[in-house]
């Protein structure tokens, strides 16, 4: 195949997240990717923080005290919401990838969103009232 | 000795086929087209690969051209053809009566046909009007308009032809002694102007050939005749369906992918560059089309479009003009050398039109090479884009 001098007018990576004019499948994809990046970041931090366990009680407990800050709890809530969405939408992607329910991918996404939102609210209540 | 250079104006069916023939016969070819491939009339055809049956009563010359070229195209470019066949269907006594002269015409033009009883016809095409009286099967077909032209253009390109798309011819260059020596061009994609020189300029601009000829002070008796076509969103038939009657409005149904296209009408027009849809004709297509296929009324129209046929002969109303083509050497009529016009004809006869045009170019330049386009299979139409100029 001859390489064309003329470059395709593709966009930069941040255009992935531009959902203007796009449809539900694309929103699902964008959210999936955003939550993936967030969760990877969290996973790294989670592992590092747990490392303080080996430094003795003071190191770990001072971190746990910090974690009672409402802002921190809000951050944790975001992680839970992201994980919920990513997991549920992952099931949707998995199902459709094996040919199941492809014509209903939009409806499936509504179900995913409904469960993710309700789940997040339940978590929020239990986290902030704990 | 360098090869003679021929400029072809227009990348419609005739233009690309002529470019192919010229390139195959060893000419250097440049095609100048103001739009994309099949920008004008050619793109907007219903895609009927004629067997000639439509013309075999009144215009046997065209009918013979059609059936001959039909067989050739099936052979050299099967990649763009639905070769399923067609039917001529009689719905009333007038049609049946017309059938007698029609079969005689088919015999005279060597068009194979087979008589079908209504039952047989309905078995093949269950959506036909069940009240049909009789039908004849014929070797009609459907082609994809863009891809038919691309296949010719791709093959021409592989033999060295250069395509200048989105490039207007703004003027014909003359040497002051009545010879066309080239064209002034305006490449709109880069917004650049320039000149191209050639030994012969061929105008393959169909309905626009009168305008191009005028640039040289020459005359072409052309009668641009638009017709309305409507594409419906269900493929109701596998074969082309023709009404068994004198050619008139809305008497052809052409299947294509998941659609059927019903055509066509005929009216007069002033400005060729934008022809508005005649709304009454759209309604007429549905009425006439649903006489052949009653279920057409349960479909939605998907696209409504107009194509302007280049009919030869000024001042004669559309339908009665012969559908054959004509090649003009403007030296004979207008005293202008180096300039040839090919116009008229139909998509089905594109290859033959190209052959005659190239013969004329050869004769003008004193070259003698045989035409081989009837034997040479065309490249994949996709190669048009893959090949670089």
């Amino acid at each position: 195949m001859s390489e064309r001098e003329n470059k395709p007018n593709t966009s930069n990576w941040f255009m992935w997240f531009d959902v203007r004019h796009r449809d539900i499948g694309d929103w699902a994809f964008v959210l999936h990717r955003l939550t993936a990046l967030g969760l990877v970041l969290y996973l790294g931090m989670h592992l590092i923080v747990l490392g303080t366990l080996t430094l003795g009680p003071d190191a770990f407990n001072s971190f746990i005290d910090l974690a009672h800050n409402p802002l921190f709890i809000f951050g944790e809530l975001l992680v839970v919401a992201a994980a919920l969405y990513h997991g549920l939408n992952g099931l949707r992607v998995g199902l459709t990838s094996f040919g199941v329910a492809i014509p209903y991918q939009k409806q499936l996404w509504y179900v995913v969103m409904a469960i993710a939102v309700i789940g997040s609210i339940i978590f929020a209540i239990s986290m902030f009232t704990a | 000795m360098s090869k003679p250079h021929v400029i072809v104006i227009g990348a419609g069916f005739t233009g690309v086929a002529t470019a192919h023939d010229l390139a195959l016969r060893g000419f250097e070819v440049t095609v100048v087209e103001r739009g994309p491939i099949v920008n004008g009339t050619s793109g907007r055809t219903h895609g009927l690969l004629h067997c000639g049956g439509r013309y075999c009563v009144k215009d046997q010359e065209s009918a013979i051209e059609c059936i001959d070229e039909n067989w050739i195209l099936r052979k050299i470019v099967p990649q763009v053809i639905e070769p399923n066949g067609g039917m001529f269907v009689a719905l009333d006594d007038n049609d049946v009566e017309y059938g007698e002269s029609w079969t005689a015409g088919c015999d005279a033009c060597n068009i194979p046909y087979e008589r079908l009883t209504p039952k047989e016809a309905l078995e093949i095409e269950p959506n036909l009007n069940p009240d049909l009286l009789l039908a004849y099967s014929v070797p009609d077909g459907t082609f994809d308009p863009l891809r038919l032209a691309l296949a010719f253009a791709a093959t021409a390109k592989s033999n060295g032809a250069i395509f200048r798309l989105y490039t207007d011819v703004t003027e014909l260059l003359m040497d002051g002694q009545g010879t066309v020596t080239g064209v002034k061009i305006w490449d709109r994609s880069a917004d650049e102007r320039g000149e191209l020189f050639a030994d012969v300029v061929v105008s393959a601009t169909g309905a626009w050939s009168g305008q191009i000829a005028e640039m040289a002070g020459a005359y072409v008796p052309i009668q641009p005749t638009p017709g309305v076509m409507v594409a419906y969103d269900r493929r109701l038939v596998s074969n082309v369906i023709n009404r068994l009657c004198k050619p008139s409005d809305g008497d052809i149904v052409v299947p294509q992918r998941r659609m059927v296209v019903v055509g066509t009408t005929s009216y007069d027009v002033e400005d060729l560059d934008y022809v508005p849809v005649n709304e009454e004709h759209v309604q007429l297509m549905l009425e006439r089309g649903s006489e052949l296929l009653p279920t057409l009324r349960n479909t939605n129209s998907r696209g409504i479009f107009v194509a302007t046929r280049p009919l030869i002969g000024a001042g004669i109303p559309g339908r009665s003009v012969a559908r054959t083509f004509k090649c003009f050497d403007h030296k004979e009529n207008d005293g202008i050398d180096g300039f040839v016009t090919i116009t008229g004809g139909k998509a089905t006869t594109l290859r033959m039109m190209a052959e005659k045009t190239t013969d004329m170019v050869c004769q003008k330049l004193g070259v003698s090479v045989e035409c081989r386009t009837a034997e040479v299979p065309l490249l994949s139409y996709r190669q048009f884009y893959a090949l670089q100029n």
């Binding site: 990576w13 990877v40 592992l47 366990l53 080996t54 997991g87 099931l91 990838s97 239990s126 | -």
Partner: protein, 123 residues
């Protein structure tokens, strides 16, 4: 015919994708347990140092945490790889990225297992 696209080695892309699907499914299951066990069984949600140490004295918990670790790390890194691939890296950088991600993954898993076993041994 086309040299710009090289044939895949031994189905690498297919197996990676399947692995992402399988680990994804496992994570959904294990994470539910992980979340509930870690944060909702103990009173007051977050555990203090002493609670964690006591909790890790149960070998089943250690096993569960390790299973979680070895599913989530490959899943995450395969995902990161596919995002990076979408950024149109050259052939050479793709190979480099594969190595880096494999290294990061191995490190994370070894570190995680060491951490789990160390915490378990503190009890």
């Amino acid at each position: 015919m086309n040299n710009s696209i090289s044939p895949p080695k031994s189905g690498q892309n297919t197996w990676l994708w399947l692995l992402k699907m399988v680990t994804g499914l496992l994570i959904v299951l294990v994470l539910s347990v992980h979340l509930i066990v870690n944060h909702y069984l103990p009173e007051g949600g977050l555990m203090r140092y002493e609670d964690v140490i006591a909790y890790f004295s149960n070998p089943l918990v250690v096993l569960m945490e390790i299973v979680f670790l070895v599913t989530v790390v490959p899943h995450a890194l395969i995902g990161v790889r596919s995002i990076i691939l979408d950024l149109n890296p050259s052939k050479g950088s793709t190979r480099l990225i594969n190595w880096i991600l494999a290294l990061v993954g191995a490190t994370a898993i070894i570190y995680g297992i060491w951490l789990a076993l160390t915490v378990a041994s503190l009890a």
